[in-house]
């Protein structure tokens, strides 16, 4: 569709509020040969139970239905893998369902779980995601991932998903980045930032202490994208418990309000037709009139440079949660940094910056924990977990990991979950001598964006401390 009806644009409504009770995650790695997937899932579940001072057996008694995010069945040569996990978690005879939306699988899993609670079907649910991408050689892995493109029109072209993505990066780079060295440096700074933050995260497997030059000199994957501009390929699991108000407060003193909205756009970028830019609450109807003049070639929306699914997920979710301006109303975000350039694109899609101006979010220092120009807290820190570039991209778990990371800041428990020497030892990782607490002081509200493929599915998950709700005027 290129025009939308009023009914389609209706802001989603819930029958009752939904709360995030707890969450936990496993170690993430490029390969974890010593563990089966179910062991990683149980590690994540146990961490979630322990986080609220319950035993896993106690927590299980509250769960009424289960939502499992796992994208790539064919990597494991196992169909109904969700049934294996469900059985090993000992959650029979509860209803459960598998959710698959590519890179957005984690976010979509929360979407399904959220709706189950919001509707009243279940008082308390489990949303658990995992992925295992280490059990085939890399070139076969690349082929399998390329099967998430159109198998007749795209996959035969190189069997390489990065290529289908890189054409969008190229267009954005030339039109909005104007092929400038300064823009290339801004892209590199995202990789430096996220890999640097990953150093403080024992779960992360992409931690690196690197410079802009290291990124710019890393091998070309598809120009202008280089190896260090790209996200990780990972193994691991992450899970959250959602509940209605009554059940949430039985389980913990400090649950967080959770909102989630989803949107979509064509599997093939090829099929994206021109349309008007749907506006977010902090945008005005005339602000994009001269976009094509300011950025020649940038007048085609969403074209190859915007993600309509990200825009529409934010469109619904901001209004559900009462967010007028993400820069003012949110305290931190976890974005889907599959590539440095798509990270910049998403700043625009979700209204952190207007279209064409995404780079200034990085250049202003706003996206950092501590603004490098002023030494003061960044206005809206992004991807303090390390993101997909520094922490992990275990597809089915990614959107859930992001949500847990945001929540730990709002709970004021980020340091507790990342500093503990025992965790570093258990994961076999060396805690850096300059380990730094990245807790966002006084965080009350946050956002996690989960994104699939070249933009086929996107979800926006918003977390709000119940004492800091926004007026919902939409």
């Amino acid at each position: 569709m290129i025009t939308f009806s009023e009914r389609q644009l209706k802001i989603p409504k819930m029958s009752k509020p939904v709360y995030l009770v707890t969450g936990g995650m496993s170690k993430f790695g490029r390969a974890i040969p010593e563990k089966r997937t179910e062991e990683l899932v149980i590690d994540a579940f146990n961490e979630a139970a322990e986080f609220i001072g319950k035993t896993s057996a106690e927590l299980k008694k509250y769960i009424h239905s289960c939502y499992y995010g796992h994208f790539a069945d064919h990597f494991g040569d196992q169909l109904l893998g969700e049934a294996v996990i469900h059985d090993r978690l000992g959650l029979d005879p509860l209803g459960n369902i598998g959710i698959k939306t590519g890179g957005a699988t984690g976010g979509s899993t929360i979407w399904e779980a959220f709706k189950a609670v919001a509707s009243g079907y279940s008082d308390c649910v489990l949303a658990m995601g995992w992925e295992r991408m280490d059990e085939v050689p890399t070139d076969e892995g690349n082929h399998l991932i390329s099967c998430a493109a159109d198998k007749d029109w795209e996959t035969p072209l190189g069997h390489i998903y990065t290529g289908y993505y890189a054409v969008m990066a190229q267009k954005y780079w030339q039109v909005f980045g104007k092929s400038e060295d300064s823009f290339r440096e801004t892209m590199a700074n995202i990789a430096v930032k996220n890999r640097g933050y990953a150093r403080m995260n024992p779960h992360a497997h992409g931690a690196m202490d690197i410079t802009v030059e290291d990124v710019i000199n890393s091998p070309v994957v598809a120009y202008p994208l280089r190896a260090l501009d790209c996200c990780l390929m990972s193994v691991g699991a992450a899970g959250v418990i959602l509940a209605d108000e009554k059940t949430a407060y039985e389980l913990t003193d400090n649950p967080l309000l959770l909102y989630n909205a989803a949107a979509s756009h064509t599997l093939r970028v090829a099929d994206r037709r021109n349309m008007e830019i749907p506006l977010l609450p902090n945008e005005s109807p005339d602000q994009y009139k001269d976009l094509g003049e300011r950025f020649p070639g940038g007048d085609r929306y969403p074209g190859f440079t915007g993600f309509l699914a990200a825009r529409m997920a934010a469109y619904y979710a901001y209004r559900m949660a009462g967010i007028t301006d993400p820069n003012e109303d949110l305290d931190l975000v976890e974005l889907h940094d599959a590539f440095t350039i798509s990270d910049i694109q998403s700043y625009e899609d979700i209204g952190i910056r207007p279209y064409g101006e995404g780079r200034t979010y990085v250049e202003s220092g706003d996206c950092y924990h501590t603004n490098p120009h002023t030494g003061k807290p960044g206005k809206l820190p992004a991807n303090l977990s390390g993101g997909l570039i520094g922490c992990m991209h275990a597809v089915g778990a990614t959107g859930i990991m992001q949500t847990i990371e945001v929540a730990q800041h709002i709970w004021g428990r980020w340091a507790e979950m990342h500093e503990d020497q025992r965790k570093w030892d258990t994961f076999g990782r060396k805690k850096p001598s300059d380990w730094t607490d990245l807790q966002v002081k006084g965080a009350k509200r946050g956002l996690a964006i989960s994104h699939a493929g070249v933009g086929s599915h996107v979800t926006a998950t918003i977390l709000i401390h119940p004492d800091h709700q926004l007026e919902r005027r939409f």
Partner: protein, 198 residues
């Protein structure tokens, strides 16, 4: 080594699949151990052939060897966006879901195909048959609402560059690989083996 002469083929006879030959090959699995000799897992060899139907897209893939590029158009007068042209080929109009009309856009492509964006990579996945580096181009056509992905086996891509379609008419694969693009002005002698302009 697998004897390819027995490789499976399929025909459709009287509305049913008729399978002939071997569709999978069985190899023994092997243990996976760590450096201390402990068993970590096993390999699971799988060599199999999928069967895939083109359905209403079949005319597109069968016409490439004849040097024809087909698109589709919604001709439903009651459609909100009647007249919209789709390349890649869409069987049904995504707006009204009526069946689109197939028509030949070869001449439009020859006259107006322009590179919208592109990328060049040395990396490919398993089963790739294209020569490296691969150059993907995304192609705009006048009067077409979509932007087709293809590859450029000759020359270096640039945004805004005019390109011409070429067709694997000699040894067709009946896949999207039978269609490629070259910069305007490329002589016939420089086309990859098996490809022609018409």
């Amino acid at each position: 080594m697998v004897d390819l002469k027995d490789r499976g083929t399929v025909k459709v006879i009287d509305g049913r699949f008729q399978f002939k030959g071997k569709f999978h090959y069985i190899y023994p699995n092997t243990p996976i151990r760590d450096e201390s000799g402990e068993l970590n897992g096993v390999t699971n060899p799988r060599d199999m052939t999928y069967v895939h139907m083109y359905g209403g897209e079949a005319p597109f893939f069968d016409s490439l060897r004849d040097g024809k590029l087909l698109g589709t158009r919604c001709d439903n007068p009651d459609c909100e966006h009647t007249g919209t042209v789709h390349v890649p080929f869409k069987i049904h109009c995504p707006d009204c879901l009526k069946r689109n009309t197939i028509f030949d856009i070869t001449e439009i492509a020859k006259k107006t195909a322009t590179v919208h964006t592109f990328m060049v990579t040395e990396r490919t996945g398993a089963f790739n048959t294209l020569e490296k580096p691969i150059r993907f181009i995304n192609i705009e056509f006048e009067g077409v609402s979509t932007i087709l992905m293809g590859y450029l086996p000759v020359g270096e891509p640039k945004i805004g560059m005019r390109v011409l379609p070429i067709f694997q008419s000699k040894n067709p694969t009946f896949t999207i690989l039978d269609l490629a693009w070259v910069p305007e002005g490329t002589p016939e002698s420089e086309l990859p083996e098996g490809f022609t302009f018409n």
